[in-house]
Amino acid sequence: METIPLTWYIALSTVLFFLGAAGVLLRKNIVIMLMSVELMLNAVNINLLAFSYYLDDMRGQIFAIFTITVAAAEVAVALGILIALIKRRNTVDIDQIDTMKG
């Protein structure tokens, strides 16, 4: 049985990371920007687990668990902010949320 080269996993995680970055940079809807951040965090997790597997080390998986936990906390706080923001400003367009713009 042929094994999968490590480069394939790294390539996949790179593609997903750049798609997430493109989503954050190109979209104006704040909900989709948050989802793109989730996509980037997932790409990082793939990388961690791939190196954990190929280096024969458990620490990558431990780190991925912590990443998932922090991502869950981040989403809870971000969606709280989002709902408060939409109640107050009634928009999800980040170009209209410019109170702190210098």
């Binding site: 480069t7 989503g23 940079l25 998932i68 809870a76 939409i86 009634n90 928009t91």
Partner: protein, 166 residues
């Protein structure tokens, strides 16, 4: 055989990720992201980490994405105008981003940095080994992260409270 599975999962994941960043309706985007996360969970199984795959399905698909869908549906996006899928914000992004992508792929495929990692893992894939490391060597970070989750929960509740009801 394993390579075939990897190609299938990776292709679906990338297609779903393109859907996330290009679909107009945030509900469709969230559903697309669920598909992407499930494919990534399958890739975690290929990487011999079944616990992480289960955690991915439970926490990301089960909790995070349901929270996203709730938030999107509570907001009532018909009031909020739907934007055009892409906006041109600066020409530099369109020039620099492809260069960065090409650079990183050159590092991955042209350089031979990653060819050394060809050994097949010998660690047991049992969850017991993972738990043993997590609850001995990494007990302190584990506790810190649980406190962080508690703080995030309190913050999320406080933020959505009505004003004047302290």
């Amino acid at each position: 055989m394993e390579q075939l599975f990897f190609i299938g999962f990776a292709f679906m994941a990338v297609v779903a990720a393109v859907g996330v960043i290009s679909l107009r309706n945030p509900v469709h985007g969230a559903l697309s992201l669920i598909v992407c996360l499930l494919q990534v969970a399958a890739i975690f199984v290929l990487l011999r980490s079944p616990f992480l795959a289960v955690v991915q399905v439970f926490i990301y698909v089960g909790a995070v994405m349901v929270l996203f869908l709730f938030a999107v549906m509570v907001v009532d996006l018909r009031r909020v105008e739907l934007e055009s899928p892409f906006n041109a914000r600066g020409i530099f992004a369109y020039i620099l981003a492809p260069i960065a992508v090409i650079e990183i792929f050159a590092v991955i495929f042209v350089s031979k940095s990653f060819d050394a990692f060809t050994t097949v893992a010998t660690l047991p894939t049992k969850i017991e080994t993972l738990a043993r490391v997590l609850f001995t060597e990494y007990l302190f970070p584990f506790e810190i992260v649980s406190v962080l989750l508690l703080v995030a929960m309190v913050a999320a509740i406080v933020m959505t409270l009505k004003k004047g009801r302290s």
